[in-house]
Subunit: 354 residues, 2 copies
């Protein structure tokens, strides 16, 4: 799933360059490329299907060249994850009706690749034999209020796996007090949004809980719509996440406790928390940076840029070729407003030129 728009990582990520296509964590690869290469080590390359919004198809093809046509699915409208997954499942159904499927976002950070591979293989071995949905649950490290929480039946393991339990409830983005209570019980995991299920289980789940989406994508035996037909389907289908549409209702969802270290890196603060620190708790992700009396500060500018900082404590310094943001870390919620101000000004300029 690589269709997300915009991002809180302005000015590096924008609608024309959302997080999955950027290397917000540093390094040479975009998050999509890192995710793709991670799954190339789990399944054959030709089994990987990328679903994205039609405006990003070019970006996907540029970043992951030489994919077959069926591997890059273009969504004409944004409809959240359920239609996205149904679309990919329909294409898989054409090619391999008994497939085992891993659903994953393209823009999350995984910190231990080998452990990830091991957890995923365990999940696949269950779903290839059992009509269940396995979701990867991340042991929470703080009462984060922007994640979904999964409550497990702590009393017993399932399928003889020490780290697998039946799911009791899903809760999206709880208030802080609730999140704290969740964590205190020891019965809750963060929902990493990574689901493993067989195609037959997936189809049954859509048929039962999202019948109209099932009708649109999964009812027939050869899903090969024209561009126009696909546009029609997307225009009519509801916008709903697979979590809300299926996971919250299904009774066959099991959690495998993830051992691999995970973050969806959904904000500068989350990036700062998850990235390695240098002296004075600075986190220099990219850029030729010189710091003097600088602490608790995150720097992410293009690798060819020089940044000389003096006298900053707790700032974000983030830039692109033509833009730089210097902002207190605790003010990151204002960055969206800043981005609007800048694009408003850009728009005004463009209109003045006309």
């Amino acid at each position: 799933m690589a269709g997300g728009f915009g991002s809180r990582f302005w000015p590096i990520c924008r609608d024309e360059n959302p997080k999955q296509f950027s290397n917000i964590m540093g390094g040479e690869e975009s998050m999509l490329q890192t995710t793709f290469h991670r799954f190339e080590r789990i399944c054959p390359r030709e089994n990987i299907i990328i679903v994205t919004h039609q405006r990003y198809v070019g970006k996907v093809r540029e970043q992951i060249p030489d994919l077959d046509d069926y591997q890059v699915l273009s969504e004409p409208h944004r409809r959240n994850t359920a239609p996205c997954i149904a679309y990919a499942a329909a294409v898989i159904k054409n090619r391999c009706p008994d497939a085992n499927i891993i659903v994953t976002p393209a823009d999350h950070a995984i910190f231990h690749e080998a452990k990830f591979q091991n957890d995923i293989n365990q999940a696949l071995s269950i779903t290839s034999q059992q009509p269940v949905i396995v979701t990867l649950g991340v042991p929470p490290t703080d009462p984060n209020t922007s994640y979904g929480y999964i409550q497990i039946n702590d009393a017993e393991n399932t399928f003889g796996h020490a780290n697998m339990h039946k799911v009791i409830t899903f809760t999206e983005k709880p208030p802080l007090e609730i999140a704290k209570q969740f964590i205190a019980t020891g019965e809750f995991f963060w929902n990493a949004g990574i689901f493993v299920w067989s195609l037959p289980t997936l189809i049954k789940s859509f048929k039962k809980f999202l019948p109209t989406i099932y009708q649109s994508f999964l009812n027939g035996n050869n899903f090969t719509p024209t561009e126009e037909e696909l546009s029609e389907i997307y225009a009519q289908t509801g916008s709903i996440s697979v979590d809300v549409g299926i996971m919250e209702h299904a009774t066959n969802v099991h959690v495998l406790q993830a051992s691999f270290g995970w973050s969806d890196i959904e904000s500068w603060e989350s990036l700062y928390a998850n990235a390695p620190k240098q002296g004075n708790q600075n986190c220099i992700i990219s850029g030729q940076t010189f710091t003097y009396e600088v602490s608790n500060t995150l720097v992410n500018v293009p690798a060819n840029k020089k940044v000389i900082l003096q006298g900053l404590d707790g700032y974000i310094v983030a830039g692109t070729e033509d833009t730089i943001l210097v902002c207190r870390r605790n003010q990151e919620d204002s960055i969206f407003k800043f981005s609007l101000d800048v694009s408003f000004e850009e728009q005004a300029k463009t209109e003045n030129k006309k």
Copy 2:
């Protein structure tokens, strides 16, 4: 005089782009261009001679195109202002032995052009009739310790000009306490480094106070050295300023009180002090700048760059295409150290590549 090296305005000004060739004050023109155009309104364009170091001849020709050969003098070595002025005077002597000469740095700020023109014309009218040196004295606004101070005979005017007095002493860069005492007396002006004198007066002054420089440049009647001869002259001549070499000793120096508003803009702090302020005492010289809870801050980045700042009080934000500096204004003395660190790193990289 446009031969100065480097600058404290790093990273915008560097040895390869010193202050006189930059638009550190904003706007489209470099300080050299602004100075040149200022004097085009005072004398014919062909009467303007630019002396620079040989490494900057290309820059001068690029910024002021279509000059005759005699108008751009190339110094093979840095020898401070006295040899520089003698060189230009020798070239002027070839063309116009009774010339009236204005000596001026190319990188100072003049805030009222019309008043400047008026003051200069007054000075020229004196020196065309009297064998005296007129120096422009700026009424001091603070006990600046990086300027030269001129003490005047406050008791009487000279040449019937209300704003002209005889000079008693020159003092280069006094300590703060002395500077404060100077200002308190009301008898001191800042030395703007702008001198007006006739060529005969200039020649007599060099002959009397700097006889070896006189011998090298001004003794003959046709100063047309080959490149090699010039190099030899510069290799042998001493390095001395006209202030120390002549002004401190001459008894025919008069100050004309400048009315035009002046600064040599010798540091970021001086630029901040002299440039117009916007809200919250911010000084946005160049760059598309968006400020939130920002005050007392100076921004100077290329005009095509966007800078979004939050939560800064009293900073310098200065940049070029590939470098940005964020530094407390009261730490500007450290900028030279920063620039050394950066160039040391650049050098190390270049050597690693070899």
